[in-house]
């Protein structure tokens, strides 16, 4: 475990159970961990190991059946739906496997949406997004719709959306899974640069060994339990 200042994320005996008919499956089974600020951590494991569910719990997208989760000093398991939405808006950036950009919005509009929710004035939004686009190689693509962009470009827009509001934590669910290896590597370069330059905490799930190699910390999950953390 890498040790940096205060934890950005803390979980205590978190458990999430899914029911299917008579069967119950613990997708996350008593996970306790701390992820410190500035870490570039990967949660690895085979399909069904609980990576995405753990990310959902950390990201306040889902509620645990047991245990507690803290983001900075806020215990998120006690928050209402609206409060969790506010927390996501202000403190967490999300990068999804399938980009999940809004088709009717341009690249720039997609990237500035979180800032819009935060009530940032339009001129400031444009300035910050333009600056971010320049940093991650999207300059000139501001007005393109998602379908006019390649997969790698769309994921860069998703990264811009996740990071432009300066969240304390960015959660990425298999961010390179839909990309070829060269594009995936370039994208990881961007994420790593942002991690080192801005100090944003990155937690991403993956089962790709090349991605795991880039992580400063690797948390291995098997059947919802931490098998290894180094």
């Amino acid at each position: 475990m890498t040790s940096h200042s205060k934890p950005a994320v803390r979980t205590d005996s978190v458990r999430k159970i899914f029911k299917s008919g008579d069967q119950t499956v613990a997708a996350v089974d008593g996970v306790t961990l701390e992820i410190h600020r500035g870490e570039f951590a990967a949660i690895a494991g085979p399909s069904g190991s609980g990576k995405t569910t753990l990310l959902n719990l950390i990201g306040a997208l889902d509620e645990p059946d047991e245990g507690k989760v803290w983001i900075d000093d806020t215990e998120i398991t006690t928050l209402s739906r609206g409060q969790r939405a506010d927390l996501r808006k202000d403190k967490i950036g999300f990068i999804f496997q399938s980009y999940n950009l809004i088709e009717v919005l341009s690249a720039l509009e997609n990237a500035e949406f979180v800032l819009l929710l935060q009530g940032v004035p339009p001129s400031e939004r444009r300035r910050r997004v333009t600056e971010m686009f320049k940093k991650i190689g999207l300059e000139g693509l501001e007005n393109r719709r998602p379908h006019q962009l390649s997969g790698g470009q769309q994921q860069r827009v998703a990264i811009a959306r996740a990071i432009v509001a300066s969240p304390s934590l960015v959660l990425a669910d298999e961010p390179t899974a839909n990309l070829d290896s060269a594009t995936g590597a370039a994208l990881l370069d961007v994420m790593q640069e942002l991690n080192q330059e801005i100090g944003t905490t990155f937690v991403f799930s993956t089962h790709d060994p090349r991605v795991m190699d880039r992580a400063s910390r690797l948390i291995r999950l098997v059947d919802g339990k931490i098998e290894d953390d180094h």
């Binding site: 995405t52 569910t53 990310l55 959902n56 990201g59 997208l61 889902d62 739906r81 609206g82 939405a85 506010d86 927390l87 996501r88 808006k89 202000d90 967490i92 999300f94 999804f96 496997q97 999940n100 950009l101 809004i102 088709e103 949406f113 979180v114 929710l117 959306r161 669910d173």
Partner: protein, 389 residues
């Protein structure tokens, strides 16, 4: 929604036009917007219950009132009209043709000749059906017999000066119009004695208010000023029913609009589940998602309104201007004693259009609430679990 708005405007326009025409036809043919009688005159209409005031003084007072645009004195009774060996029962109405032109449009309904004027040889105007029943034509002679006020049986010989066609069988087959003086002479009434004064005001819709004000101005407890609503309760009921129909139309059109909005927005929400999942994941609050959908629905209603105005205005202009000609189906019909022509014209009822449009906005926004709540309820975790495509 735009089609609903056009339908609503069309129906409201037609109904308002029909209401206007019904009231105009009902009041302008013979009734007037209001009438003045002796307190006990209606409903028996006895010839002895004349207006207990000097005709000249009363008419002078009325014609000096700014709310009165025309005042026509009348006497009225019932009698028998005969020609040769044919006879029919008639209502006899004595009137001043010149004064009547300022109040009613009976003169416009003449198909031959003119209304009776004072002359040595007493004149009579009868309806087309009465002329046929009596077998007389213009210039022919008709004998009228009626109970006179002095107890005698009044009778006189009249020359047919005019034949009218009002479209109402009751008038065309049973009304005899005389000059006021001739009628008074027939039933032995003094020249100052009249039974009623028909009045025209600026608008029939103000009749009740003007009648009350006039009654206060005249300050004569022996006479009453009755608006058309009191004189023809059937027409008044029809108008009230027509207003009820407008509300029924509102309900039908708004229900259709609400169903269409509900359907459209539910489909849109189901197609955009991923989008709402993303919005929720990146921090949009459920109530903001509800607001977003309601704004979208309101914008949809706004666009529909613009489309409705663009398409509906020329349509309504035609309906109001040229009207809908139903003459190939019918020559017209009568409702509650009012003749309605075969051309139905609409009316510009901007107030009703505005109310309709505003209600449609409210209705659309309310109908959008359920899809909005469905959108707000999308669980963002389903997005990462791959349950939303």
């Amino acid at each position: 929604m735009a089609i609903g708005m056009i339908m609503l405007a069309f129906v409201l326009s037609i109904m308002a036009g029909m209401k206007r025409d019904m009231i105009n036809q009902g009041t302008s043919l013979l009734l007037g917007h209001m009438q003045i009688h002796a307190k006990d005159y209606r409903p028996d209409r006895s010839i002895y219950d004349a207006i207990p005031a000097g005709r000249s003084d009363l008419l002078g007072q009325l014609r000096g009132d700014p709310s009165v645009l025309g005042a026509a004195p009348r006497v009225s009774t019932f009698g028998l009209a005969s020609s040769g060996n044919k006879s029919i029962g008639v209502e006899i109405l004595g009137m001043e043709a010149a004064a009547e032109r300022n109040v009613t449009i009976l003169h416009e309904k003449l198909i031959e000749g003119s209304l009776p004027e004072p002359s040595e040889q007493s004149q009579i105007a009868i309806g087309e059906l009465a002329a046929k029943a009596l077998g007389v034509s213009l210039g022919g002679e008709v004998i009228l017999i009626a109970q006179a006020a002095d107890g005698s049986l009044g009778n006189d010989l009249f020359t047919v000066s005019g034949i009218f066609r009002s479209g109402l069988d009751l008038l065309d087959g049973g009304m005899a119009i005389l000059d006021l003086g001739a009628a008074q002479s027939l039933i032995a009434l003094p020249a100052e004695t009249i039974h009623e004064i028909a009045l025209r005001t600026a608008s029939p819709t103000d009749a009740k208010t003007v009648a009350s004000a006039l009654e206060r101005t005249l300050a004569n407890p022996a006479i009453e000023v009755s608006p058309w609503q009191t004189l023809t309760p059937e027409l008044s009921s029809w108008v009230a029913m027509s207003d009820s129909w407008s509300w029924i139309m509102y309900v039908i059109v708004f229900s259709l609009a609400a169903i269409s909005v509900l359907n459209t927005m539910l489909m849109a929400v189901f197609e955009r589940l991923r989008e709402f999942g993303v919005l929720a994941a990146i921090g949009m609050k459920p109530r903001s998602v509800v607001a977003l959908i309601v704004i979208e629905v309101t914008a949809l209603a706004g666009v529909s309104l613009l489309v409705a105005i663009a398409i509906g205005t020329p349509l309504l202009r035609r309906v109001v201007g040229k009207g809908i000609d139903l003459s190939s189906f019918s020559d017209g019909f009568s409702v509650t004693g009012v003749a309605v022509g075969p051309i139905i014209r609409g009316d510009w009822v901007f107030g009703d259009f505005a109310v309709g449009a505003a209600l449609l906005f409210v209705c659309a926004a309310l109908a959008g609430l359920y899809p909005a709540m469905r959108a707000a309820a999308v669980d963002p975790a389903r997005l990462t679990r791959g349950e939303i495509r």
